[in-house]
Amino acid sequence: MTLVLTDDQLMFRDAAKRFAAERAPVSQLRKLRDDVDPVGFSRDVWKEMAEMGWAGVLVPEEFSGVGFGFVGAGLIAAEIGRNLSSTPLLSSAVLAVTALLRGGTQAQKETLLPAIAGGDLLLAFASDECVRHTPYHVATRCTGKYKLSGRKLHVLDGHIADRLIVSARTSGDIGARDGITLFLVDPKANGVTITRSSMVDSRNSATIDLRDVPVTDADVIGTFDKGAIVLDAVFDAGRAVLSAELLGVAEEAFERTLTYLREREQFGVKIGTFQSLQHRAAHLFCEIELVRSVVLRTLQALDAQEPTASSLVCLAKAKASDVARIATNEAVQMHGGIGMTDEFDIGFFMKRARAAAETFGDQYYHTDRFAQLSGY
């Protein structure tokens, strides 16, 4: 497989590029934030995105999706990153769809996937329980047959989801990979309390408390006690797509900064003539080129289900998180005073870069995981 996009992928990307810039630009995120919008994204725009194939990007055609795979999802995510578009793509179209594809029964797939792909049904994935991503730290209890109790943090789009996918401990110790089971949960069921948090990046996140929430065998996704197999796949999918979004964030922040360096004058010259800024920009250019390569390679590896895909996911998520951090920090710095103002958009990029980095493991988490997967 070569590291270039096919003609089909290029067309898909160009369509995504136009759409995101026209229908979900940074100004929309600003408005959602200023209006304290109860949903946190535009349902109308999401419906249009679904028509473009975004909601069903990972869903195979037999379940009414477009089946464009992780490369396709990454191409959308990069445009979302460039425009800071607020959408439930990650929660519903990536995390939940991956869980269903990897662990869902035929009945679950048939009822849920077409509705997700159509943009009519939203799912959220509720697993993390620690403030820092710790995938197997699942303390949510499952008693009797079955009642779930526990607390889930940082559930993306949790407050507007029609269904939740919840991880619970059905055996073993907290922290063990074995003994985790995934359940479909109705957010309106007795015992579910959902609290929306207002986040620095103005995107949706919720805390979900579960108290003796009833579920049945029909709600199990994947194999009982072996939910980590699905969990791993879901997180890797999310990390890879977030890496692509972070790439878009970094690219856009960098391009805006270059424009500013070419325009702003101080000391009677354009500030882009100062070598200290030039060298930092040139270094950043190289880092972004590296992220481009690893993100594309990682998405391809996930599509091909390569055995070393998880290592590549670590590389992508670590590198993209770190480079997006540098790119957005440099962007604010090189804009001087105006970069610090709310009126100016560049700060939004730094906020999103931070939030996306923290989600499903940052550069520290993934550097450690990369080393472990490499045998040290």
């Binding site: 590291l3 030039q278 920009a281 040139a282 190289c286 080129e289 670590c314 450690d368 040290y376």
Partner: protein
């Protein structure tokens, strides 16, 4: 689709034939890892082969033109397509075959000759590069012209059918071992400094050429100061047009930078393996955690860089614009190589400090010291960043 299938099948057949040929023709000695300078075959009139296997391996590969797989057959090259050349590389790597020949003729001058040489120059010089008969050196830098290469002063004066060259070059790698030099000389003395430079080729045995070796911090003395005292150079040895040598010089530099930048991705024992051996694991993790983090960061960046080299190659093959990537590859690749060497020294501790002239052991300290030149030779890291700022990012005044 069927054309694609066909070409896949042809490529697979090529792979089978290549593997069989390599297995039959690559001597076992040439499948051992390269340990020191003497394991590298540079060719030349005074070539010193470490053993007969090295000589035979060069001869066999040169016969097929596989010392330069993608160069045209007409001048002795392999005439392979990019895909075939990749297959050859992969098969050589799989059998651990050493490169049969390393030379500046291959990595620098050849591409410039193919692009700017006239028919006579190409048929005269290229076959000798392919067969490793002539070893070339690069006469660019001068004591007063390093990063600011275009300010060079070595001059060539017009004497009818020949030039007379006077001046001196410095940091001429293998100046005392090379047979011929490709040299930048000043032929124009008014106007922009870039517009008075010509690119000439001449024999290092010409009367008036002398070299004096310079020793490096690594202990090796691979380069020289090179002096020209009324050296006669026939006019037919001018490459391209008079006063148009700067364009050729820059073109050649992109090849040099790609070569230097790519050095960091050569197969060596992964740092983490070395670290596991020297430091050991505790609960599955390298016992020294701060060092572990730096090693992991390095290995991740190295992998990201290798993927970027692949992507740039793939993009170029697909005909996509890749910009001034050679500066990026040179900058990032050499900085990575230095990081690898620094970490290798940390991982090997007192063992790595051993410094002698025995050629049998791994010369870690010498290697570490040598990498420091990577971000200087072929244009410093700062110069590469300047080029990126100017040519890629289009920043003002750069």
């Amino acid at each position: 689709m069927s054309a694609q299938l066909n070409s896949d099948q042809t490529l697979e057949a090529f792979r089978r034939d290549t593997r069989a040929w390599l297995e039959a023709n690559c001597p076992p000695e040439m499948r051992q890892p390269v340990v020191d300078e003497y394991d590298i075959c540079w060719g030349g009139r005074r070539a010193k082969f470490k053993n007969d296997a090295q000589r035979v391996w060069l001869q066999k590969m040169a016969e097929r033109g596989w010392t330069v797989p993608e160069w045209p057959k007409q001048y002795g090259g392999g005439g392979l397509s990019k895909d075939e050349a990749r297959v050859l590389r992969e098969e050589m790597a799989a059998l651990k075959c050493r490169p049969p020949l390393t030379s500046f003729g291959i990595s620098m001058l050849g591409p410039a000759l193919l692009k700017y040489g006239n028919e006579k120059q190409k048929s005269e010089h290229i076959p000798k590069i392919v067969r490793g008969e002539i070893r070339w050196c690069q006469g660019y830098s001068e004591p007063g012209a390093g990063s600011d290469l275009a300010s060079l002063k070595t001059r060539a004066d017009d004497h009818g059918d020949h030039f007379v060259v006077n001046g001196s070059k410095i940091w001429t790698s293998y100046g005392d071992k090379a047979d011929w030099i490709f040299c930048l000389v000043r032929t124009g003395f008014t106007g922009k400094k870039q517009e008075g430079i010509s690119f000439v080729l001449f024999d290092m045995e010409s009367p008036g050429v002398t070299t004096s070796p310079i020793r490096l911090i690594s202990g090796y003395s691979p380069f020289t100061q090179t002096f020209f005292d009324n050296v006669k150079v026939p006019k037919e040895n001018l490459l391209g047009e008079l006063n148009k040598g700067w364009t050729i010089a820059k073109y050649l530099l992109t090849h040099e930078r790609n070569m230097i930048g790519g050095m960091g991705t050569q197969r060596v024992t992964p740092l983490s393996q070395l670290a596991i051996k020297n430091i050991g694991l505790a609960a599955g993790r390298l016992a020294e955690t701060a060092l572990r983090t730096d090693i992991a960061r390095f290995e991740m960046d190295a992998l990201a860089f290798a993927l970027t080299m692949n992507r740039v190659t793939d993009e170029a093959k697909a005909g996509n614009e890749t910009g001034a990537m050679s500066s990026m590859l040179k900058y990032y690749g050499t900085e990575l190589n230095k990081r690898r060497a620094e970490l290798t020294m940390s991982v090997t501790g007192s063992e790595g400090l051993k410094f002698g002239d025995s050629h049998s052991e791994e010369q870690l300290a010498a290697m570490w010291l040598r990498t420091k030149a990577n971000s200087i030779e072929g244009g410093t890291s700062e110069i590469q960043l300047n080029i990126i700022a100017k040519n890629v990012l289009r920043l003002p005044g750069a």
